[in-house]
């Protein structure tokens, strides 16, 4: 229980720190945000009165430290401020977009995990040297492809030439497939690499020899012993890529014209809509923190060595997050 509490506290700390870093980056920049807000309506010259009104409305007339604590208080109560561009609460805007991106990211995660495990597993299991080399060469290539280009190529082939999938929109499962696969490729590549590497390592472990000496079949040894242990580091990597999927939705959603967090982030950056950018950055950091918390909590269930006093350090050691 102490372990859970410590992990949750650590997660809360990282969230607070991420908020602070975002605040420093985005609110301490030179330039008057009031000008941006008023100018956002079409470049009309704003009167000093209008600017003053906007400053008062958004609290820019307060000292920075007051603004910081107001913003922090807002975050704690679920209020991420008002969008400069939309003049609506950021929380509502994000809430409207989150579901679509969440569905896309989860689909991509499933594709990445399945493809990564199959490719990495097959590369180690196969007895054919050629097939093994071929499968081993896929992940480094997958990790090197520019996501935005893969999206365009998939769109060209499967939407325009074959007409199998819609090239734009966010309705139905069909619209998930291409952007999902586009985003899944780098993730699948890292999962495949880590899984294959840990499989090769665990296949050399002594307990695999012992299992073989019991007379167990190759498949049984592979699944029951080698793969079972190789899954542990793979889960860490899978947890790491989730936030990356949300980040890369900025590109795929823009390419496939899907409404979502990524599209909203792109729009907000273009419009210098600071509360919106800050809100979305926070949400993505939260995704990172929550997935890592889940992985931290799931780990001791899978690895019995970590269920004991002092497990917090042990889990993080095992996951390669800290060193002895």
């Amino acid at each position: 229980m102490l372990y859970v509490l410590r992990r949750v506290l650590a997660a809360v700390f990282v969230m607070w720190a991420a908020f602070t870093v975002t605040f420093i980056i985005l609110y301490l920049v030179p330039g008057d945000p009031a000008l941006l807000i008023v100018g956002g309506d079409g470049g009309v010259q704003a009167t000093p009165e209008e600017l003053a009104a906007v400053r008062a409305e958004y609290g820019f007339d307060q000292p920075v430290i007051v603004q910081y604590f107001q913003a922090l208080g807002g975050v704690l109560t679920g209020n991420l401020g008002m969008s400069y561009q939309m003049r609506q609460p950021v929380t509502e805007l994000i809430g409207a977009q989150f579901g679509s991106t969440f569905a896309l990211a989860m689909f991509a995660l499933v594709v990445a995990v399945v493809a990564g495990l199959v490719i990495g597993g097959a590369a180690v299991y196969t007895k054919s040297r050629i097939l093994s080399q071929l499968l081993d060469s896929l992940p480094p290539i997958g990790a090197s492809l520019p996501t935005f280009w893969v999206g365009l190529v998939l769109m060209q082939v499967f939407c325009f030439q074959l007409g199998w999938f819609p090239s734009a929109g966010d309705r139905g499962f069909d619209s998930l497939v291409l952007p999902g696969i586009t985003m899944a490729i780098p993730g699948a590549a890292s999962i495949a690499q880590v899984f294959a590497k840990s499989l090769r390592a665990s296949s050399r472990d002594d307990y695999v020899t012992v299992a073989t000496a019991k007379g167990a079949s190759r498949m049984r040894v592979f699944i029951g012993h080698a793969a079972r242990n190789a899954l542990l580091p793979t889960i860490t990597v899978a947890g790491m890529i989730v936030a990356g999927l949300f980040a890369y939705s900025a590109i795929t959603e823009s390419i496939f014209s899907r409404a979502g967090l990524g599209m909203a982030l792109d729009n907000a950056v273009q419009a210098k809509d600071i509360p919106m950018v800050s809100g979305i950055v926070l949400v993505i950091a939260a995704v990172f923190v929550v997935t890592n918390l889940i992985v931290d909590l799931v780990y001791p269930i899978i690895d019995p060595r970590l269920r004991r006093p002092g497990a917090s350090k042990a889990v993080r050691l095992q996951r390669g997050l800290v060193e002895a």
């Binding site: 720190a17 920049v29 090197s144 520019p146 990172f288």
Partner: protein, 308 residues
């Protein structure tokens, strides 16, 4: 006391034998002193590595002397040559203004690579110092620095760069700063774990038992042993940084048109996917091939180190 145990008699052949004395002694002369001819033969066994090195060399030459590879002007719009498919005159075809796409790719190389180099230098300069300090001194320094790194890691590099660009404006330098800061976290982590690995090794303990000072140990033992893996990471991260910078430039956060950049070149073909496939496909393919080659070289260096 006359008989010196010979490696042949003592060291093992079988990898399964127990005692820690089994690592086979290197043949006399050692692999590092192999002749040039042997190196050449070794390279020929790795055709993909040779090919990758050639590709990287050519791309670097694009950046240094673009005029050598194309006679066209990257900015000149020839209205009689609009949207031509690839041919011998126009390797990558032409765009909607009649500009040669290959020429724009070649001339965009310098800016893209320079942006990437600046980003990698920023990431590695700050990341290495943080990692070295955290790894060597441990305790409080480690705790504080690694919390900072945790935060940098909690925000994906692309998103962190987007936030920074929002704050400091669009442009290539800004992209380099954004991506560079985004890299600090992972560099610091690797540097720290390398430093800790070296620091905890027995020969460093031996140095302490002999009375060596911290500064001496860091300079003479820890850094030389830790810097190798970090440099390999720098090359691997170079590939990742190009992809991120190209992605941000694709979204339009880089130097504005008509100046060519790799990412924005791919973006400029988006509107012509059905009519002029080459406009985004071929520049994108070039980026992909280049990054594949960079990563191939990085992996070779990595394997070389781990096999030593």
């Amino acid at each position: 006391m006359s008989v010196v145990d010979t490696p042949a008699a003592v060291d093992a052949v079988a990898p399964s034998v127990p005692a820690p004395t089994v690592a086979p002694a290197a043949p006399p002369g050692g692999r590092r002193r192999g002749s040039a001819a042997a190196t050449l033969v070794g390279l020929l066994r790795k055709p993909t590595l040779v090919l990758s090195a050639l590709v990287v060399l050519v791309v670097v030459l694009w950046a240094l002397v673009p005029g050598l590879f194309s006679g066209y002007d990257p900015l000149y719009a020839d209205t009689s040559q609009v949207l031509l498919p690839p041919s011998f005159e126009h390797l990558f075809g032409t765009d909607e203004l009649g500009r040669d796409v290959f020429t724009r790719m070649v001339h965009g190389t310098a800016l893209t690579l320079l942006t990437t180099v600046v980003a990698v230098v920023i990431g590695f300069a700050f990341g290495s110092v943080i990692g070295l300090a955290a790894g060597y001194f441990g305790r409080i320094a480690d705790g504080v620095l690694m919390r900072v790194v945790d935060i940098l890691l909690a925000i994906p590099m692309l998103v962190l760069a987007m936030a920074i660009v929002t704050a400091i404006g669009f442009g290539s330098v800004q992209l380099a700063i954004g991506v560079g800061i985004g890299m600090i976290g992972s560099v610091a982590r690797v540097m720290r774990s390398e430093v800790m690995r070296v620091r905890q090794s027995t020969f460093i303990d031996a140095e302490r038992s002999m009375g060596a000072r911290d500064g001496y140990i860091i300079a003479r033992h820890v850094l030389p042993n830790a810097v190798g893996p970090v440099l390999v990471l720098a090359i691997l991260d170079f590939g990742a940084a190009i992809l991120t910078i190209a992605a941000l430039s694709f979204l339009g956060y880089g130097t504005p048109p008509p100046t060519p950049e790799w990412g924005s070149l791919v973006a400029s073909g988006r509107a012509y996917l059905t009519t002029a496939w080459w406009m985004s496909t071929l520049p994108g393919l070039t980026i992909a091939v280049f990054v594949v080659c960079i990563n191939r070289i990085a992996r070779e260096l990595q394997n070389d180190r781990s096999s030593r």
